[in-house]
Symmetry: C2
Subunit: 218 residues, 2 copies
Amino acid sequence: MHDIRKIDLREGILDENDHIAEHVKEHMESHKVLVVNEMGAPGVGKTTTLKNIFKHLSLKPYVIEGDIESDLDTKDLNSLGVETHQINTYGACHLDAPMIEHMTHHMSFDEPGVLFIENIGNLVCPAEFSIGEHVKMLISTVTEGSDKPYKYPLAFEKADIIILNKVDLIPYLDFDEDFFMKGVRALNKDVPVFKVSGKTGEGFAEVAAWLEEKASNL
Amino acid sequence: MHDIRKIDLREGILDENDHIAEHVKEHMESHKVLVVNEMGAPGVGKTTTLKNIFKHLSLKPYVIEGDIESDLDTKDLNSLGVETHQINTYGACHLDAPMIEHMTHHMSFDEPGVLFIENIGNLVCPAEFSIGEHVKMLISTVTEGSDKPYKYPLAFEKADIIILNKVDLIPYLDFDEDFFMKGVRALNKDVPVFKVSGKTGEGFAEVAAWLEEKASNL
């Protein structure tokens, strides 16, 4: 942190990343594909959220699954007939724009739709790197506790949509929704927050409608 | 990943970190203080786990709280009379050995005990960096789902003790304990796994006893 060479190196990497992210975004716009960067800590239900959105989405979904190792989620989604491609980072804590650029050049995008990119399960690193997305979708959960916006502010500040998952468990928890929302609003005045349950399916129709509206403006 | 200079830089940083981590460990051993590196994703109950352990621990606890921002947990623990010091990383996704070395030189360690270092909430980056610990304590939860060892193998592979928290919620979840344990055992044959609930307090007496046994061998 005190070494100017380290700062220069870091800023150089971020500049190069953002430059490639812009290319990805333009490429996807030429196909009328909305790009969603799905972020959240491990186990918040990122893949379950996608599966629930697909039940309501009228546009064609494409998926890139980011995982450190394993392809459990990719197999899961491909078995549902959704075109899903795997990126394994083998240790790296987030996806970056060059990884996405490489992958999208191997995909066809034969009709307009939505490309969901499930980032590495991590509430810290992914928020720093653009990967060509139009929408940063943050998944948070009532089981994680209501102090998350205060502790991981960057992800909440940058989110274009927040999904608060696992609301079916609220009766068994001490989740303080007012404290949570106060933290969210201090960082991000207008972001929509959708309460959902991956278990009961409630709330996802509204999320799908919000995404369709975004896609219609491409 | 394809640039040899990047690899050299990274390995150099890890070497320097490990060298300082050894110094921290020796310093703490001279005070008969066991060092515990507490790791886990956001919201798994890292601070709640400490509070529950303290109810049973016969040794003096010391705490270093790592957070990106905020000092909510440090205030919480200090209010219980536990000597707690805050490190804010302002964006960095893990603690490193130089941060801990700096902090421990400002602490007194006036009697033998256990230094708990609560790392940044992140299941990826902290597992890569030693910070002078004798014990890596990984907190996982039943609410995160049973596939976590498969998706975040390094943290599970390196853990000296695994705490499976929030077991009071099992009746309301589809947690597959056999699948979870199969994943753990494939990575870490002998690691003890303690099932606990931060809400009911069950299981923490056994964790405290395990730590006391470790400390007695310093």
